[in-house]
């Protein structure tokens, strides 16, 4: 007996500036679709409807409009950048559809028609900065791409670092895709900061890490680097030496040891070959499809309101560990982890939260006073904390 079919929109830019990552995400979505369809646990099958907006922001709206009108999809998995998600939100809100969004992002959004499966800022930047302050340095040099992710991540970094009595030594930005990094590398070598916070993305980041590695080696320096976006496929692109040693914050690393992840990685490699690696964004895309399938099964319907209700607080033991949707803001409970990139294109996890953390997209629960160093002058700490509370 064939199972009834449910059309599922998949919107990923297989072409364009971030095609590499979007292709990885689409691959994982299709893998999840095939697993759902082959499984006896689900009495329905997804029929994927693929759209490629080519990385053009305006094309996301028409791709989703087309999926909703022509393909009658009620659920869409996709988008990688915030700019593309902002294009899709008006249409899913107007037509009462659900967008399942896999990528981590900078927060400060909460649509009833989006399920945010990627990490919120309290899952990524906050634990990374806490680690930096506790174990590395309180003065930091920032290098980033000139767009919303860097602006907001650096703002949070600045709030936390200054409330701990530290300093942002510099904030140097490059346009997206820019690979002329020598002036920033030179400044870092000249100033020898205690840590570098890297929010560059794509080719800019790869060029920066390679150039800084060469320059640091020549100068006999070893400056710790921190990132909340670096992932396994990128380590390969950066190269075997320059990619090593970056302290990275993420809710998923391929090396995470668990029964579910072991099986997931094995299935992923069997399907896609042993050359590639699953990473946080592709794994999260897989989780999107699985959360959706489970919610449809629980709701007994694809109806958006019913699925949203069914997804709320419904725990799924995913490759990255237990994940569930917080109905208060439609973001997910996830377990933050910190790892160091090691030879072989992998990360070695050295810290994880005790339990999945409640998503805090507006950082409303961020207590800046908790970052104040004990040896800090008490008055200064209180003054700073009070002053900074405004932006919470």
């Amino acid at each position: 007996m064939t199972k009834p079919c449910i059309p599922l929109g998949l919107v990923f830019s297989r072409s364009g500036p971030y095609a590499m990552m979007a292709r990885e995400m689409e691959k994982s979505a299709l893998m999840a679709v095939d697993e759902v369809n082959a499984s006896g646990e689900f009495d329905f099958a997804f029929v994927p409807r693929l759209r490629d907006p080519g990385g053009v922001v305006a094309a996301y709206h028409s791709a989703c409009d087309d999926l909703i009108r022509e393909e009658q999809v009620e659920h869409i998995v996709g988008c990688y950048t915030s700019a593309s998600r902002k294009q899709v939100i008006p249409i899913v809100e107007r037509t009462e559809r659900l967008l399942w969004h896999p990528a981590r992002y900078e927060g400060f959004e909460s649509s009833d028609n989006v399920i945010y499966v990627g990490a919120a800022p309290n899952h990524t930047v906050v634990p990374l900065v806490r680690h930096m302050l506790d174990h590395i340095a309180s003065d930091v040099f920032c290098a980033g791409s000139n767009y919303v992710w860097t602006w907001e991540t650096n703002r949070v970094l600045r709030e936390i670092v200054t409330s701990a009595g530290g300093r942002i030594l510099a904030e140097r930005l490059l346009e997206l895709g820019e690979t002329a990094v020598d002036h920033i590398v030179k400044e870092i070598i000249d100033r020898r900061p205690a840590a570098v916070f890297n929010t560059l993305v794509g080719e800019s980041s790869y060029a920066f890490m390679r150039a800084l590695h060469v320059a640091s080696s020549r100068a006999g320096l070893s400056i710790p680097m921190l990132s909340c976006s670096l992932c396994e496929p990128e380590l390969r692109l950066i190269g075997p030496e320059a990619s090593v040693g970056c302290i990275t914050s993420s809710a998923y690393f391929e090396s995470f040891e668990s029964t579910e992840n072991g099986a997931f990685v094995a299935r992923w490699k069997a399907r896609h070959g042993t050359d590639g690696n699953p990473c946080v964004d592709s794994q999260s895309t897989y989780v999107c499809v699985m959360l959706l399938a489970r919610a449809i099964r629980r709701a007994g319907s694809t109806d958006v309101a019913a699925v949203r209700r069914a997804a709320a607080n419904y725990r799924y033991d995913s490759p990255q560990g237990p994940v569930w949707v917080d109905p208060a803001n439609n973001h997910c409970f996830l377990t933050p982890r910190l790892a160091r990139s090691v030879p072989g294109g992998q990360f070695k996890i050295f810290w994880e939260a005790d339990a999945p953390e409640r998503p805090d997209p507006y950082l409303s629960n961020l207590d800046l006073a908790s970052f104040a160093k004990p040896d800090m002058d008490a008055d200064t700490a209180t003054k700073r904390a009070n002053h900074l509370r405004v932006v919470k």
Binding site: A58, A83, K86, P90, G107, F108, N146, V148, W151, R155
Partner: protein, 204 residues
């Protein structure tokens, strides 16, 4: 001078700096209905200061997401024309950038036909109040600046007529009222001639 009504928007001119085609067509259509004219500018072509004579524009409709936060062109918008900000991203880093532009009002994207008129009225009203407030503040600052003169005049009268400070000031105030001039103006005259001027005619 009659205060221009913020409710009458017909004939006013808007500069629209918006990237998204759908938002552009919503703004254009609605401004057209209201009888306003529109000049369009491409946010990626900023700064456009040379082509922007400030006196031809009554309001700027600015897509806040279309200009990078860390760019110098933001500075060129610190002009006296009221700005209506179109907001998509609500991150504090973006909002901080926006606050520095002193927006007169704002709309949240995606735009609808409703809302723009309110944003315009609020923007025009804020702009008018800003002008009035600036004039008021200037007047107050003038008065603060001339306090030294008033004090000097009071001291002059205390010495010349053996008055108390209170009586000297009361005398200046009453005389200023009689002459229909300001306390500051009269004080300047007292200091200049070394005593109370003896006027027969009223000054304007």
């Amino acid at each position: 001078m009659t205060r221009p009504s913020p409710f009458s928007v017909r004939g006013r001119r808007a500069l629209m700096i918006v990237r998204d085609e759908r938002e552009i067509s919503t703004v254009r259509r609605q401004l057209d209905r209201l009888g306003m004219s529109v000049i369009e500018a491409d946010p990626s072509q900023l700064p456009l200061q040379p082509q922007l004579p400030q006196d031809c524009i009554d309001v700027i409709v600015l897509d806040a997401d279309s200009i990078p936060i860390k760019s110098n062109c933001a500075l060129s918008w610190k002009i006296n024309v009221p700005i209506i900000a179109l907001i998509g991203t609500e991150t504090p880093s973006r909002l901080k950038w926006l606050l520095d532009l002193h927006p007169a009002s704002f709309l949240v994207k995606p735009l609808r036909s409703a809302g723009l008129y309110t944003a315009l009225v609020v923007a025009f009203d804020r702009a008018q109040r800003r002008i009035e407030d600036a004039a008021h503040i200037e007047k107050l600052e003038d008065r603060i600046r001339s306090r030294r003169i008033v004090v000097a005049a009071v001291l002059q009268l205390i010495r010349a007529h053996a008055l108390s400070e209170e009586d000297a000031f009361a005398l200046i105030r009453q005389t200023a009222m009689r002459y229909r001039t300001t306390i500051e103006q009269l004080s300047a005259e007292i200091v200049a001639i070394g005593g109370m001027p003896n006027r027969t005619s009223r000054t304007a």
